[in-house]
Amino acid sequence: MKTSGLGGAWLALVALAALMAPTPASAEEPPLKIGLLGGYSGSAALFGGQLDAAIKVFMEQRGDVVAGRKVEIIRRDTTGPAPDVVRRLVQELISRDKVDLITGFDFTPNALAAAGLSTQAKMPIIIVNAATTEILTNAPYMVRFGFTTGQAVAPFARWAVKNGYTRVFAIYTDYGPGTEAGNTFKRVFAEAGGTLLGEVKPPLASPDYSAYVQRAKDANPQAIFIFAPAQDHPTAFLKAYKDSGMKDAGVKVLATGDLSDENQFDALGDPALGMITTYHYSESHDSPINREFVKAFYKVARPGERPNFVAAVTYDVFNAIYKIVEQQNGKIDPDKTIALLKQYKAEGPRGPIAIDENRDIVQNIYIREVKKVDGKLQNVEFDMIPMVNDRGVETK
């Protein structure tokens, strides 16, 4: 009795293999197929939600047909930092689904894993988030629309010295992006004449920050520079920072926008107030395009989710895709696409953006302070470094 009931489950499992037969293509106008890679499960699921909502917003405004071709999104779950999965997904998108272009990409290792395939198959890939500077170096068909860690950190280090934060203690997570952020900050900060009082590198699994914060406190700094991934790190850091008494003593927190992601504000609460962060987008960015974007985002997003940089960048990416498809009369030729993207300039929810010869993003970097606006925590922009390139150098 027991076995026969389960038999159904087994057969269903085995039958899954049958699902693998290729899907028949529609006979009419070929759709424009866009592969979309992002985290949709586990702790990376926030990323996927942002991708989907931004695309919905964009399609509601612009329709889902461009240059006569219906846009078909093929979304795939990276499941987190999983390069072997991603490489397989990219390979399948190219050779089975025959996509015209791939976008998305959350974590750096995932983008690096796809670089070789992109070159081999001449597949244009537009990166939404993976932020390590080196990704594009050996990948002539990859273009980045997000940001690089150095782009956000280098001008921020100069800004800090210029605004009187000369004695700083650095805390950065001990993994790829953290090391890049930490090293960039140290270098640029020293060049600008700042004094680094010390540094500490918490491991990625760091549920408790009190010891690191204690070290910072011993150094008696004017400010702490911190880089840590979103999720549990910011909460733990801010608790320890507040408990240490440094907040009351007026020691400032300088961080990248990872620490003040709009979607974390509820979890962070008021301890986040006063934090100064550097990033390429904030929900409160004051422009007509962004106001409309934010309004539309709340209509389509899952409850409780707020638009962040991923959504803003995704919007820009689709804007660009539509434009280059129109310019090529409904086609996507790899070399032409990359050539067109290299001259791409537009205005998006985050402000003006441009792509340079290195296929990397040039954009404004905003200095923001966490404040309460209409009862809601927001990153309020109060300073801006215009048109910074991927190496953190101002181009204007």
Binding site: S41, P81, D84, L112, A121
Partner: protein
């Protein structure tokens, strides 16, 4: 009164007969390998997926050698897989990109580390064993993360150049060469594993699993046997890791992750423990189901995965292969 004695066959004959029966190919084994080979033609768009499923299958078989035949549960088996992957990856990065060399390197380094670990864990069991193997796995992950000059750390190992197989067949984008290469290597290792478990050594291991106290009475050193099993298992896991590195041409920290240690356990139980082919089947179903569930509803595949796992364990049916066998027996008896 005629003496009955001559009718009883000599013990050696009985033993040989039993060995033969044990080592005979069962229908589900044949079916699996036929389907796997045929899938090259049936699912041309899924070569990479099936390749990765086969590689996971070899990894699961390596765990089965340890867990299914000698009863040692390891919660950190990804350590050996990852070490194999990094060995092959670093070799290829340094200009030693011959795939077979990578396999051998992966097997040797992972096997050596396995031998070292076996010295530590041979006397542990139960929760302590689980925690120590878990700890070893986490240690390797941390080490690879820290030692970024060698491993590339969190960004992964870059610059691997894998040469064509046998100097003739370059890895192509559709994954044809990768598929055939992995299939052949894994099939050979499967045959070797089969031979091993059906050898006196394998029987001794099963003896340890069934009754650890009586084995020494047969003149077998339990400790030595377990250490051997651990080393062999680690080396096979290393080969699987090397295969993944070569077909992916990229190695990231994820090869050493806790998730991978857990999912290999899940695949083993899903397929059925202690019969080798169960590991291959479990990996195939797991990887394909994960891919399909994720494509249908990427957000919640964890739920279905967990549910399937619970159902398999609660049914006590010995995984998919156990169920198929019983089904086969029932059909056989129904005639």
């Amino acid at each position: 009164m005629v003496a009955l004695a001559p009718r009883i066959p000599a013990p050696s004959v009985v033993a040989r007969h039993l060995f033969l029966r044990r080592s005979r190919w069962r229908w589900e084994e044949i079916a699996f390998w036929l389907i796997a080979a045929a899938s090259f033609f049936l699912f041309p768009g899924h070569h990479v997926l099936i390749t990765q499923a086969l590689i996971s299958g070899l990894f699961v078989v390596s765990l089965d050698l340890l867990l299914g035949y000698s009863g040692i549960a390891s919660m950190g088996h990804a350590a050996f897989f990852g070490i194999g992957a990094y060995t092959a990856g670093i070799l290829a990065q340094q200009g030693w990109g011959d795939p077979l060399l990578g396999l051998i390197g992966g097997a040797i380094v992972a096997g050596a580390f396995g031998a070292l670990c076996s010295l530590l864990v041979a006397r542990l069991h139960g929760a302590a064993l689980l925690t120590v193997t878990l700890g070893i796995g986490l240690l390797c992950y941390e080490l690879a993360n820290k030692w970024s000059s060698l491993t590339g750390g969190d960004d992964g190992l870059q610059g691997m150049i894998v040469q064509p197989v046998l100097g003739l067949f370059a890895f192509d984008i559709d994954g044809n060469v990768g598929f055939i290469y992995a299939f052949v290597v894994i099939f050979i290792f499967y045959l070797l594993a089969r031979r091993l478990v059906n050898s006196p050594f394998g029987l001794a291991l099963t003896g340890i699993r069934e009754n650890i106290r009586r084995v020494p009475a047969l003149g077998i050193s339990v400790r030595f046997q377990l250490m051997m099993a651990f080393t062999i298992s680690a080396a096979v896991a290393g080969v699987a890791g090397a295969l993944l590195a070569e077909t992916t041409q990229y190695v990231a920290l994820e090869v050493l992750s806790f998730d991978r240690s857990i999912s290999v356990l899940i695949m083993l139980v899903l397929g059925g423990i202690g019969n080798l082919v169960g590991g291959m089947v479990g990996a195939m179903v797991f990887i394909v189901a994960r891919d399909q569930l994720a494509a249908v509803n990427p957000v919640y595949w964890n739920f279905w995965l967990g549910l399937i796992l619970c159902v398999v364990v609660m049914s006590g049916a010995g995984g998919i292969v156990g169920f198929l066998r019983r089904l086969g027996d029932r059909i056989g008896n129904g005639r």
